[in-house]
């Protein structure tokens, strides 16, 4: 862990256990299985449902600044609160929520290594009690869609200039054999395949079986052997941008890559776009 570029963004379960009552810390649970929070969550944690809390209801985009401010204020999160993200499935959606918080410039964001899985495996307490916190007066920055977010026009420019992309989906999605993860409805795109030039490094290769992130050395090898190196401008994508936010987190914070963007339109956009190239 000490070899990570930014070790301060990863906290262990023991640290979380010691800060359950820290007024400067707010635990945020974000899950793929959105009902898991109600089954039981870390005491004091609030739930952020990516479907309802982070997405605009009518336009495929993230919530507006006023809505993000309301979300923070209602969860008792202040501008100087340290937000600890955790969730199921290797912190998959926790990293997605982390990425959205960073769009709005929230400074103190960390991820609990190992997520729900590790907390439960260590027999640490869960509760069904929904906490309430005094409202804060959160002031968000304007959403920054330039630094860590990529749009399709930028992806087109990226391809034209031969810069690297990371496709973090399953090998079968990358090859075009499937349009969604195995076991899911094969829908969402008219074409299967990948963006030309993208390297396939499935997102879950960055974690161990217990849900914790692999060492810096292992992660460095995972990405550099496919030409994904820190001197380059990297764009990561998946199907809707949530798996690729996990990879964005790994590259940006654990390996310290200075220029990584998440293309959240991802394959559900690219695979349906008229006139853009694909590879199989």
């Amino acid at each position: 862990m000490s070899d990570y570029a930014h070790p301060e963004v990863l906290v262990e379960t023991e640290w979380v256990a010691q800060h359950l009552n820290d007024p400067m810390v707010r635990l945020v649970e974000s899950d793929e299985d959105v009902l898991l929070y109600d089954v039981g969550h870390i005491p004091g944690a609030v739930k952020i449902d990516w479907h309802t809390d982070l997405q605009d209801a009518l336009m495929r985009d993230y919530v507006s600044r006023p809505r993000f401010e309301e979300l923070m204020s209602s969860r008792g999160i202040a501008n100087d609160t340290t937000v600890v993200f955790y969730g199921d499935e290797n912190n998959w959606w926790a990293c997605y929520a982390f990425w959205v918080f960073k769009l709005f410039g929230h400074e103190r964001c960390v991820v609990m290594n190992g997520g729900r899985q590790k907390w439960i495996a260590e027999n640490r307490p869960l509760t069904k009690e929904i906490p309430t916190y005094p409202r804060t007066h959160y002031v968000a920055k304007e959403r920054d869609d330039k630094t860590i977010r990529a749009f399709r026009e930028q992806v087109m420019q990226h391809i034209a200039s031969g810069q690297p992309l990371v496709d973090v989906r399953s090998p079968q999605e990358y090859s075009g054999e499937l349009l969604h993860m195995p076991g899911y409805p094969q829908e969402g795109a008219l074409r299967g395949g990948h963006i030309p030039g993208a390297k396939n490094i499935p997102w879950a290769k960055a974690v161990r079986e217990d849900g914790t992130f692999k060492s810096a050395e292992e992660l460095r090898a995972l990405y550099t052997e496919q030409g994904i190196t820190p001197d380059k401008d990297i764009i990561a994508y998946c199907r809707i941008g949530e798996r690729s936010s996990h990879t964005w987190f790994v590259l940006t914070y654990l390996l310290g890559y200075p220029r990584v963007r998440n293309y959240d339109g991802s394959w559900t956009e690219w695979g349906n776009l008229v006139g853009v190239p694909i590879e199989k």
């Binding site: 793929e32 009902l35 109600d38 089954v39 993860m181 195995p182 076991g183 899911y184 879950a204």
Partner: protein
């Protein structure tokens, strides 16, 4: 039921699944889902001479909605014939789980019922050949890709 009641019911079935387990010498043993990742169920059924379900069990691994859906459907189909199961509308699940959850997690919600419908379609042919419908039990692997 309002949405909160639907969610409470789903969570109750997830945490206290009905008919969870196996049957010895079932007439039907079928798998549903994808063992490579995600949600899987195995359904065990015992039938009478009229292909009516006299006993049912399920095992599985997966999300709250898929496991709750399997639990709910095993309660609903007891006493039904296979023909009735094959014709069963999804509305019976929507009434229990709520339209919002059902539609947002369609694959998960219908895992149990679709596994049973598939068995209901296939069993008559097997029976005409003097066979039961028994598939090898497939264990779930929870690695995400």
């Amino acid at each position: 039921m309002d949405q909160q009641e639907h969610i409470a019911l789903i969570l109750d079935h997830y945490q206290h699944p009905r008919n969870y387990g196996t049957l010895t010498d079932p007439d039907i043993l079928v798998n549903g889902g994808n063992p490579g990742c995600g949600d899987v169920v195995t359904m065990y059924l015992r039938l009478d001479a009229e292909q009516r379900v006299v006993d049912i069990r399920f095992e599985g691994h997966g999300c709250t909605v898929s496991m709750a859906g399997a639990s709910i459907i095993t309660e609903l189909v007891k006493g039904m014939t296979l023909a009735e199961i094959e014709a069963l509308p999804y509305q019976v699940l929507i009434d229990q789980m709520g339209e919002g959850v059902f539609k947002s997690r369609l694959r998960c919600a219908t895992l149990g019922i679709d596994t049973l419908k598939g068995a209901a379609r296939e069993y008559p042919t097997r029976q005409s050949l003097g066979q039961k419908l028994i598939q090898p039990i497939v264990l779930a692997h929870t690695g995400w890709v």
